[in-house]
């Protein structure tokens, strides 16, 4: 396989709260983003998926560990190499109401990165290119949109502008952070389809961050999913394997808990009961596996003492990994009976 476009190696990220409290937001994250793939980061709020996306984009620096772009340490990139990284990796933020500057017209919003990265030579060229980008994201007729301000557009239209803005630098990797969660159901799929066709057209790699497993499944059917829990990746593998045959206890519980838009099916679905509904705080993480106090398959003396590493388990496809000691030892999971 060719070199991954982005490689994260042993990433830790902590945030300080006040003087004494350190919050470990990400711990020991190693993951490759392969060229042209779609990788979904899935998890509940507080699992660190957005922080991870920002680290990939270079908007945050890891506390320790390295991010490699095309094999080069991002922290050591200088001059034209750094600019190239910045151009090649773009992010689409979640909230189109907050991520567009209300004081700039759409034309300005799109022209700025075009000029900054010298994608065009003049204001008039920038405007031309902005118009092209707007028609690429189906905001037509372009003349009706280009001189408007964000507040004159609907949420769906704004998110299209955000996508167009990310396209200005002709990126190779797009980090889409909950890019459709703020728009209505009926137009969500339209946005995703547009993103997918842009990807084909422009040979892009996509990292899609979402809390919605069904959406991840739809988008990355031929891609991969990484499931995150409390700052760590607990399972990673091909989407079809993760969704149809989840391995990590957390992934299993999550999939069993999701209501589905099919009355008979969703009512017959068996829900796996957690041992505890409380999510531990990041500042008071339990010892061993962070999921053990809630895990229905908890193994005393193992799960509460040793932190599990992501590795392949005997029953898994060779390209998949899970962070669960009983599984990686090849043991059958058995319900814990206190």
């Amino acid at each position: 396989m060719s070199e991954p476009i982005l490689k994260l190696d042993g990433i830790h990220k902590t945030f300080k709260k006040g003087r004494d409290v350190t919050i470990p937001v990400l711990q020991d994250i190693s993951v490759n983003v392969n060229r042209l793939e779609i990788l979904c980061l899935v998890g509940e709020s507080g699992c660190g998926k957005t922080t991870l996306g920002k680290l990939m984009t270079g908007l945050l620096k890891p506390s320790s560990g390295k991010v490699y772009f095309e094999g080069k340490d991002v922290d050591k990139l200088r001059g034209s190499e750094f600019k190239r990284y910045r151009r090649a990796v773009q992010i689409i933020h979640q909230d189109p109401y907050a991520s567009l500057n209300p004081a700039h017209t759409i034309s300005n919003t799109l022209s700025f990165p075009l000029l900054r990265h010298k994608m065009v030579r003049s204001q008039s060229q920038a405007r031309e290119r902005a118009a092209e980008l707007l028609s690429m994201v189906d905001l037509t007729p372009v003349g009706d949109i280009i001189d408007k301000y964000p507040h004159q557009l609907s949420g769906g239209q704004r998110q299209r502008v955000s996508i167009a803005r990310a396209m200005t630098t002709e990126p190779e990797l797009i980090i889409a952070d909950e890019a459709v969660s703020m728009v209505d159901v009926s137009i969500r799929i339209g946005l995703l389809k547009m993103l997918l066709s842009l990807r084909t057209e422009m040979n892009m790699t996509i990292v899609f961050i979402t809390h919605d497993l069904a959406l991840a499944k739809y988008l990355a059917w031929y891609g991969r999913i990484a499931v995150m829990y409390l700052g760590r990746i607990v399972e990673i593998g091909r989407t079809q394997d993760v969704v149809m045959n989840p391995q990590h206890p957390y992934t299993r519980v999550l999939l069993s808990a999701i209501p589905e838009a099919d009355p008979e099916r969703t009512r017959q679905k068996e829900h796996i009961q957690l041992r505890s509904e409380d999510i531990p705080r990041l500042t008071e993480l339990p010892p061993g596996c962070a999921f053990h106090p809630r895990c229905p398959w908890y193994v005393p003396g193992v799960c509460d003492t040793t932190i599990p590493r992501l590795s392949n388990a005997p029953d898994m496809p060779s390209d998949a990994q899970v962070a669960c000691i009983p599984l990686t030892r090849g043991e059958e999971l058995a319900f814990y009976d206190a």
Binding site: S154, D184, I189, H211, Y218, N245, R265
Partner: protein, 349 residues
């Protein structure tokens, strides 16, 4: 379901907001019946009028809103009254005793400087119940029902509770005075999947034990599929389809409902071809003529552009407002039931 079971009957209600740009017709000629012990889901996108409608039912609309027509007939113990005619005193009793509403965003519903116990007492007291022991007993019993540690939560401040615990506390507060109707606005939005699951389970249990009726507002089709007995699809301020949950999900008759169903990714299917509804929801200040959905509808004809279709009963208790249900049925049978690549294969959970 027998007519005498009807506890809330909304008849031809219209609600208008006065805005600078003109009148926003947020809810138009909506009629529906709510039966005893039933869960009715109002689904639709933002701006479809579902929250406005439910605020109208308890007369909690903001001051720039007017109810321009209609009645809300409420029945308790064989007596039927129009909620819109209630005196201020009667209205005060109606709210919470008869009909409680749990708003979106439980995080902000509690007063941060009062203990939970005080907030429950305040609610009871302001509705004329002063027996502290009785209120405490009822509160603790409800906490048990919503699977909270009763004594601990009773003495807590809101900030000591997690989001899911607050939402459950709020549900308990909602049913404190034993209402017949509980309106839930997006009860699980903004909650994590596992917390959401706990809330759904708790709600189902509560409803079975206390036998109240639920109107819940959601844009989440999966939640409606799981919790509702009947589902009403709202579009541009109108109910465009209403019927038993299985009819709506397996045999939809309105192109908008069909469009929603086809745009939701499903976990139980392999690679799917989802289809989004073209266009965007209409501006309710100058809505389209005829059927309000026609600019986005693949079946739209000249008739749709001029004449608004009435809600017609096509199957028992299953109503839809569309001139071309025959075409919707043909399309639905061709696409909705289309065998997915991995049909029948379920996640090995």
């Amino acid at each position: 379901m027998a007519e005498q079971d009807v506890i809330l009957e909304v008849d031809d209600i219209s609600i208008v907001y006065q805005a600078e740009r003109g009148d926003v017709r947020a809810t138009n000629n909506v009629s529906l019946k709510l039966h005893k012990g039933e869960a009715l889901a109002l689904i639709g996108e933002s701006g479809s009028g579902k929250t406005t409608l439910s605020l109208g039912l308890i007369r909690m609309l903001p001051s720039n809103a007017r109810i321009t027509s209609g009645k809300v007939m409420y029945t308790r113990d064989g007596k039927t009254r129009n909620v819109l005619d209630l005196s201020p005193g009667d209205l005060r009793y109606f709210r919470w005793h008869d009909c409680a509403m749990v708003f979106q965003g439980a995080q902000n519903a509690f007063n941060p400087v009062l203990r939970i116990r005080q907030q429950f007492m305040d609610t009871a007291r302001s509705h004329g119940i002063n027996d502290e022991q009785k209120v405490k007993a009822r509160t603790l019993e409800l906490f048990k029902l919503v699977r909270l540690d009763p004594e601990r939560v009773y003495e807590s401040y809101p900030h000591e509770l997690s989001g899911g615990m607050k939402q459950r506390t709020l549900l308990a507060l909602g049913v404190l005075l034993d209402p017949q109707v509980v309106i839930l606005d997006e009860p699980t939005t903004a909650l994590d999947i596992l917390t959401q699951r706990a809330i759904i389970d708790v709600l189902n249990e509560m409803q079975q034990k206390l036998n109240f009726s639920i109107i819940f507002i959601s844009h989440d089709l999966a939640l409606a599929a799981e919790m509702a007995d009947r589902v009403a699809t709202m579009y541009a301020g109108q109910i465009v389809e209403i019927g038993p949950v299985n009819d709506i999900f397996y045999r939809p008759l309105h192109p908008y409902t069909l469009g929603l169903l086809r745009s939701v990714p499903r976990l139980d299917r392999g690679q799917e071809d989802l289809i989004s509804i073209p266009g965007e929801p209409p501006d309710l200040i100058s809505p389209p003529t005829g059927c309000k959905f026609h600019p986005r509808c693949q079946f739209a004809s000249d008739k749709c552009r001029t004449d608004a279709p009435p809600l017609v009963e096509y199957a028992p208790r299953h109503f839809a407002a569309c001139w071309h249900t025959d075409q919707v049925i043909a399309e639905r049978d061709a696409t909705l039931g289309a065998a997915p690549t991995f049909s029948g294969e379920t996640p090995n959970v």
